[in-house]
Symmetry: C2
């Protein structure tokens, strides 16, 4: 019967997200949980122990489906992935902000911001490498991006989704609207930046009279197929 324990943990996460460490008083947490303040101490001993538990149990959510190991339709796949990540980030917005602002003073909440973003960036980098191996990227000399720029592009897409999820509520004018189309727009900009050349099956989607990129020299860039983009 540790129903109360989880109630307290969830309440603590909510209160912490809204008020920060110092503002998350034991009284407020107990009230939010609908539990006596003493019960809280009997379960967790101290306030910091309680918030440590919160930090360690909030990082395990991360139910964003991974990018496919076999790229078929990059725009569709990336858009779904970015959208899922943004939804997830939005749901943790306040908690992330608090954890980030207090990370220096109180590294306990570190696991909360944790490795999620870093893992996601690595995932995206690997995906781009796969795209390149499949010849889906334009890699002509003088045109193909060098590792530095590819990493920059990855960072830009990650920061776009992160910043959109975190900052849009406080400065909506800065972000593309409507919000529902932002993820797709970020992905299209990203693909264009890394020189994505749609496969033949995708060319039917193109609306204009001319294809998006110059044809020919199609499989020329294959000379460095196994090179990672980590410099």
């Amino acid at each position: 019967m540790q129903e109360n324990r989880t109630r307290i943990l969830e309440a603590a996460a909510r209160v912490y997200a809204q008020h920060g460490y110092r503002g998350a008083t034991t009284r407020r947490i107990a009230d939010e949980a609908g539990v006596n303040e003493i019960t809280l101490f009997r379960h967790f001993g101290t306030k910091s122990a309680l918030l440590d538990c919160v930090a360690h149990e909030c990082g395990i959510v991360e139910n964003v489906p991974p990018l496919p190991s076999d790229p078929v339709h990059p725009e569709r796949e990336l858009t779904a992935w970015v959208q899922a990540r943004m939804d997830h980030l939005r749901s943790m917005r306040q908690l992330l902000l608090q954890a980030m602002s207090e990370l220096q003073e109180r590294p306990d909440m570190g696991p909360c911001v944790g490795h999620g973003p870093v893992d996601a960036a690595n995932q995206l980098r690997d995906y781009v490498v796969r795209l390149r191996r499949r010849g889906l990227l334009d890699t002509r000399d003088g045109t193909g991006l060098r590792p530095l720029e590819l990493n920059a592009a990855v960072a830009m897409l990650m920061n776009a989704s992160f910043g959109d999820a975190i900052s849009r509520p406080m400065m909506p004018e800065m972000f593309p609207s409507p919000q529902s189309k932002a993820a797709g727009a970020y992905v299209r900009v990203f693909l264009r930046a890394i020189g994505h050349r749609p496969a033949d099956s995708d060319l039917t989607v193109v609306r204009g009279s001319e294809p998006t990129l110059v044809r020919g020299a199609t499989r020329k860039g294959r000379h460095t197929p196994s090179k990672s983009i980590t410099e």
Copy 2:
């Protein structure tokens, strides 16, 4: 002789940036300022009044030089601009984090995060419009970016610089290294995404055998010269 007043204000800004509103106790601020705690009250009355002053006087810094109204060398100009913005953001990192995390609970510090980023985004948008008017962007049908994607590209560059300045210390693996080359990399990715076609004078810089983008159809996109990219 209001030397003490400014000393208190600066100390309050530092302490607030490090500890947040609740953690910025009057005692800590007074100690940091090397001033008796009572002096603080005699000057500002209350703690919240003091921090209000901090919020209103911290927004007036913003010494980032504007983008040139007459684009000549976009990569160079944008890189300098982005670099200056990142330096500025880095210097306000902790203060921004605190203000953002507490903005819901205590909008007093709102002026601190304020309109800086929004203004910068508008500046960048205007700059892109000028680039397009000058025919420096590839605007062929099916290739040129629609307003949604242009806004997305702008948001991505803004968020890249913001996220780099704010988040790099806590997750360095996510960002292109070395840090000193990040701004330039973001700008190159951005320019590539919005279809920047270097002017003839810039073509000498291109290292490869082929020019970056297809020539011809040079001034074709001029049919909508005055259209803003705000949809």
